[in-house]
């Protein structure tokens, strides 16, 4: 149909149907639009039939729910490009020993879908999971998410993440980090994994933390699960007893990083720089041994490392030299000629 108006031989209702069919083609031109509005103005009956035709289109919105109709919508070989990308990626069977007496031999008839999420250094992101839970990833972090029929499994491969877990009694959620597994029903907690240790801080609810025992049947791990309740944190190292304590400062630190801040209270400079470096691909180096332990206090927004350094320079006797690939920190006294 190359005309800009329907044939005058059509009844008005058919003309209206013609216009609506043109409208939904997606390539209505400016001229056709003008002709449509002319036609609508030509008579009250025209507007009425047009609205009725539109109503016919709208009323067919729910046709897709009808299986008989859907049978006519099915095509033979799927020709749309990119369809394969919309299919789930199946993962292999997992045989990780779960704490709390879980059946080692459980396997799913349908392989669960595994997805990994990763943030770059200096980046923070929230991931929404299918069950409504959320993971907030801190800088340079990677998690793997494996949701199956009987369990929700997450692996914190590296970095730090805050978990806001929706309660599902039939599907406990576990976060593995290093040699330890945190198991929850529904709660919010933070896990920070470094090479040497795993730090767990609970903000709401309670979690159980135990050592992963791959070679021992479940329930005989010898190390009991440590229960952590809200307001409590613990540091776990492989082979040594966990240190459990009430940690209002750690709770603060977690809340701060979630809000994009770091805050220091008389921390030695080298630790402050260590923390800031977690968030900066361009690293800060201290090339002056006399300032290593300088006590630093203050709140810094992590948006921009240059701003953080400018803030430090302002308040403390420090001087920052900016090179293309690094920052260098010296004491002010040393920098003066």
């Amino acid at each position: 149909m190359n005309e800009q108006t329907p044939s005058a031989d059509y009844e008005i209702s058919d003309q209206a149907a013609w216009f609506v069919a043109r409208l939904y083609s997606g390539d209505m031109t400016a001229e056709e639009e003008a002709r449509l509005h002319d036609w609508l103005r030509a008579g009250v009956q025209h507007q009425r039939e047009y609205d009725l035709a539109l109503a016919c289109w709208d009323d067919t919105a729910d046709l897709g729910e009808d299986p008989d109709i859907m049978a006519f919508a099915a095509s033979e070989p799927e020709k749309r490009k990119g369809y394969g990308r919309w299919l789930a990626i199946a993962a292999v069977l997992l045989l990780v020993a779960l704490p709390f007496g879980a059946n080692l031999k459980s396997f799913w008839p349908v392989a669960p879908e595994t997805t990994a999420y990763e943030t770059a250094v200096g980046e923070q992101q929230v991931v929404d999971l299918a069950d409504g839970s959320k993971i907030t990833l801190n800088t340079g972090t990677r998690v793997r998410v494996d949701y199956g029929k009987h369990s929700r499994q997450i692996v914190l491969e590296y970095g730090e993440a805050y978990f806001d877990v929706v309660k599902e009694a039939k599907r406990p959620l576990s976060v593995s980090a290093g040699g330890h597994v945190v198991t929850v029903l529904g709660t919010s907690f933070n896990v920070f994994r470094t090479g040497k240790q795993v730090e767990v801080v609970v903000l709401d609810g309670a979690v159980g933390v135990s050592e992963k025992a791959l070679d021992r049947p479940a329930g005989t791990s010898g190390v009991e699960a440590v229960i952590l309740r809200a307001g409590v944190g613990a540091t776990f190292r492989q082979g040594s007893a966990p240190v459990v304590q009430e940690t209002p400062q750690d709770i603060e630190r977690v809340k701060n990083w979630l809000a994009g801040y770091v805050r220091f209270d008389n921390e030695p400079l080298y630790r402050v720089v260590g923390e800031i470096n977690r968030h900066s691909p361009k690293k800060i180096l201290i090339e002056d041994t006399t300032i290593m332990n300088m006590p630093i206090s203050g709140s810094f927004k992590l948006v921009n490392i240059d701003l953080v350094l400018a803030g430090l320079e302002d308040v403390f006797p420090l001087e920052v030299t900016r090179y293309p690939d690094r920052y260098v920190l010296l004491g002010e006294a040393v920098a003066q000629p």
């Binding site: 209702s13 149907a17 209505m28 400016a30 609508l40 035709a53 109709i69 859907m70 990780v96 494996d146």
Partner: protein, 187 residues
Amino acid sequence: MSGNTPKVIHLSERRRADGAVLHSVIRDHETALRRFLRARLANHPDYEDLVQETFLRLARLTNLDEKFSQGQACTRSYLFSVATNLIRDMHKRDAIRREANLQDVEENILQDERPSSEAVLASRQELHSIKKVIMGLEANCRRAFVLSRVRNLSYREIAEEMKISVSMVEKHVMQALAEMRRKTGPR
């Protein structure tokens, strides 16, 4: 955990990609979307809101580059169907508000926007009569209309799939609408 490499999502890249895709979708389709909404709504006060809301719905999707890499025509039919649903919701809200204005104030406070059971029954009956009309259409006409309305394929895609011309597809859609009007509309 051993086994297959999981699908890795680099969140910074995804965010950058989504922003760029959204930008190009707006650039390529805003004029057509506005024209579409003008044709549907003429001078309705919510016109501008609907333009914004349609793009906002898009912005909330993730994996935009996957969804919109399949060509202009597909993206446009998707946009039009999002907009059509928004218009439908708007009409429903307007109708509920009009009804509410005719009732007591106390009833207004208790009224929520979910349709009454009568309304649900009425719409189900409507759908049933529409379904009868569709099932009674000539096979090609029915196929073209269902592919367009249910699967949101563009006319060009339908033409390719059915091996007919685009103008035939438009004729089929028009005939389907005309039949529906004849069989279910007022005299």
